[in-house]
Amino acid sequence: MKDSSRKLLDKSFTALATFTLVMLGVCVAAFLLPIIIRGAGAVVFKATVEHEKVLCENFGRDASEADEARFASTNAAREKFYALTDAYESAAAAEKFASDIDALRSASTAGAAKYKERICGALKLKSSERAAKIREISQKLWSGYADTLARCVKESETSGGSYGLEKFLDAEADKLSAAGKEISKTLTEGSGAGYSARSAVARNSVHYALGKLEEAKSDLAETNAAYNVFKSGVRELLGPRDALEKNSLNLMRQKYGQTRYENAKKIFSEDIETLTLTQKDASGAEKSVRVSAREKFSGTPVEKMLDTLRADFDAMLAPHTAFYWGFFTDNPADANIFGGIFPMIVGTFWLTLGAMLVAAPLGMASAVYFSEYARGGGITGFLRMCVGTLAGVPSVVFGLFGLAFLINTLKVSDGKSVLAGSLTLALLILPTIIRSCEEALKAVPNSYREAAGALGATKAGAILTVVLPAALPSMLTGIIISMGRAAGETAPIIFTAATSTGLALGLGELFSQPTTALPWNIYNICSEHEMAERVGHVQYGMALTLTAIVLGLNLAAIILRMKLQRKLKNR
């Protein structure tokens, strides 16, 4: 090869290697950085006052002075807001409209006398024409009432009182019927009209008013429904207003407002400033539409509430930076929406420890057999092939095996249990441990065995006193790296050990109880959680914890190896 081309080849190899290295670095950074940054958000974040409320009321923390001050200041700020809602919802606001409507109804009822002749004339018509005629008259009779009704609805919607008005109107239909009966009584008294004629008058004389009432009611109902959506958005943001309301709610997530400032802002813009309303379209099918609350309530007291919310947002929630170390030591509450991931960490620890206790001695013993005793015959070759094949079996198959063999056939436990999971994980990592230990043993120079033998050590003695100690650093490295793999495996424990909720297990429960564990719960909380977008911090927090455990184990392996090797080499 020519010198120039050799140099070119050298350079291109160097360039390729550098490029690969850079790509690797970029990939690691792109993978790890979001996990680290967003995972850290589970521990260090901008919290609202609700966070401290949850901690004090559910996780046995004592409120600090700062907490108490926050509770007081936010409650005061909230009272200002609640005063607005109270005013909007109070019956007093509707009184004026109610009395107006009452007056008009009485006036209209009394005014029916004017139409006495026309109605009596109508009674002589055929029954089909009779109703139409009376309804025509009722329109004239009740038009003033209808106008007032419409005016009251409109006014209540803009100036408040629609809540009380709706309640008042609920009873209005009955009052109208009574008015119809009264009209019928005054008009037909002594005319000798039959029962059917009398009831026809009673029914049809208020027909127009009833129709208008329905319109008014549905108008009000629509407005009030939108207000209720707004109110439930506020409750999601701030939590229930008082203990009475709180105790009437079942789920913990309903009992508290947003604990994280970012979520609070999201709720404000998505569930309060924008409302999701159910509307009926022309064909009568229901569909949900998103409308701007500001437009919907423009010019009404609700707009003022929105302004107050926006202006006093921080005062009501008291955002502050919180360090929630309890994320690692608290039990989760209400499907991980509150609390930490302690049981998952403990579960992962038990599973990994159990797997190691089984796999490490077995793997080391097998490796010693393969490396020191096996003579490369047919059976050994077959066994070796089996180990190699096992190493390549997908982990989900190990999970199925654990379920079918360990649980269903051997019945190591009644159902899923940490024991079954540990055994399955042990089987999974056994081939890797055997291989790494075998490599470690093969790397021990033969001269050590010879030297030990020449000093009179038996084969087993030489293995125990010289070969194993010399191979230990590499063996431990392999074992610890396998441990990292066991900690992170998901598929095997789905079948044998994992459950989505539960508390941390004690030693005595390991043989019969399933456990939560980080790998499975990460999947669970990301894909099966009903409010997955609200627990993003927990997802990333779990991912970071698991990554930290695995990386930490690998780092420990490296440090341990370096230390042991230094000890063997020099001091």
């Binding site: 120079p445 001269s447 000093l455 009179g456 010289v466 020099n570």
Partner: protein, 286 residues
């Protein structure tokens, strides 16, 4: 040692041959040979690797308390022969022996012989220094501890005396607990010798002990061999003819598995009887 002699019938299945061997040895003795019985003697000794015969029909004696060098070109079977003396060939698959190889008249290959005891009596130093990855102290103590519990003070004494015998004590006495792998090559090799001496062997086998060492370390090891002869029967395999002539009392020349010539070192190097020996020591081949 006494115990094992009683336990095993001294001559085993070769009992019928043994007396004649001894007689033969006596018959061959010249005025120069030391007066006592040979420490190790081989009669018609053969080693096979499968079907390949590596050592063919060797008859030779290792004089007690003397240094015997074995020389010969690579692959001539000298190392194989040496390793049989403490049965290191047991570690080699497919290695079989025939004929007689005896230590103090006891057949080394007797099936009821205690190999561990044999290896205590026959120590070995290898081509490359191979200290264990343990502390200097533990290296020396290893062989002693294999023989059962021993008081710390007694062990300390053995370690010190072994290191003194190997002329290493002054260099390492301050760092007995540090790793043996931190020593230089020459120190490591002397440590290996001290390790072999710690179990108080009678015979010391050295398989090219200086081939991995620099000249200065080689000189120190050779000095040490000189100092040890008299107390130990030493068999040394070497490629270095000068070394053989410097350190040994007797020299055996192996060629293609045969013992070609065996005699006093001075005779072999000044007046070889065989043409092949002459060619080899004058550097014409090998």
């Amino acid at each position: 040692m006494e115990n094992s002699k009683e336990k095993i019938s001294p001559l085993g299945r070769d009992a019928d041959r043994a007396p004649s061997v001894c007689a033969d040895v006596k018959a061959r003795r010249t005025d120069d040979t030391p007066p006592s019985e040979p420490a190790v003697s081989a009669r018609g000794f053969c080693v096979n690797y499968g079907s390949f015969r590596a050592v063919k029909n060797v008859d030779m004696d290792f004089a007690r308390g003397r240094v015997t060098a074995i020389i010969g070109p690579s692959g001539c079977g000298k190392s194989t022969f040496l390793r049989c003396i403490n049965r290191m060939n047991d570690f080699v698959d497919g290695c079989t022996t025939s004929g007689l190889l005896a230590l103090d008249g006891v057949n080394i290959f007797h099936k009821r012989l205690d190999v561990v005891e044999l290896r205590r009596r026959v120590g070995m130093v290898f081509q490359r220094p191979n200290p264990f990855p343990k502390s200097i102290y533990d290296n020396i103590a290893y062989g002693v501890r294999l023989r059962g519990r021993i008081a710390r003070s007694a062990l300390d004494e053995i370690v010190e005396s072994s290191l003194r015998r190997a002329a290493l004590w002054d260099e390492v006495k301050d760092r007995l607990s540090s790793s043996a792998l931190g020593l230089s090559g020459g120190q490591q090799q002397r440590l290996c010798i001290a390790r072999a001496l710690a179990v108080k062997p009678e015979v010391l086998l050295m398989d090219e002990p200086c081939s991995a060492l620099d000249p200065k370390s080689t000189a120190r090891v050779e000095e040490l061999i000189g100092a040890l002869s008299g107390d130990y029967t030493i068999a040394i395999v070497t490629h270095n003819m000068q070394q053989a002539s410097r350190v040994s009392d007797f020299t055996a020349f192996f060629y293609e598995g045969n013992l070609v010539e065996f005699g006093r070192t001075s005779d072999i190097f000044t007046n070889p009887k065989c043409e092949a020996t002459n060619d080899y020591i004058t550097g014409r081949f090998g």
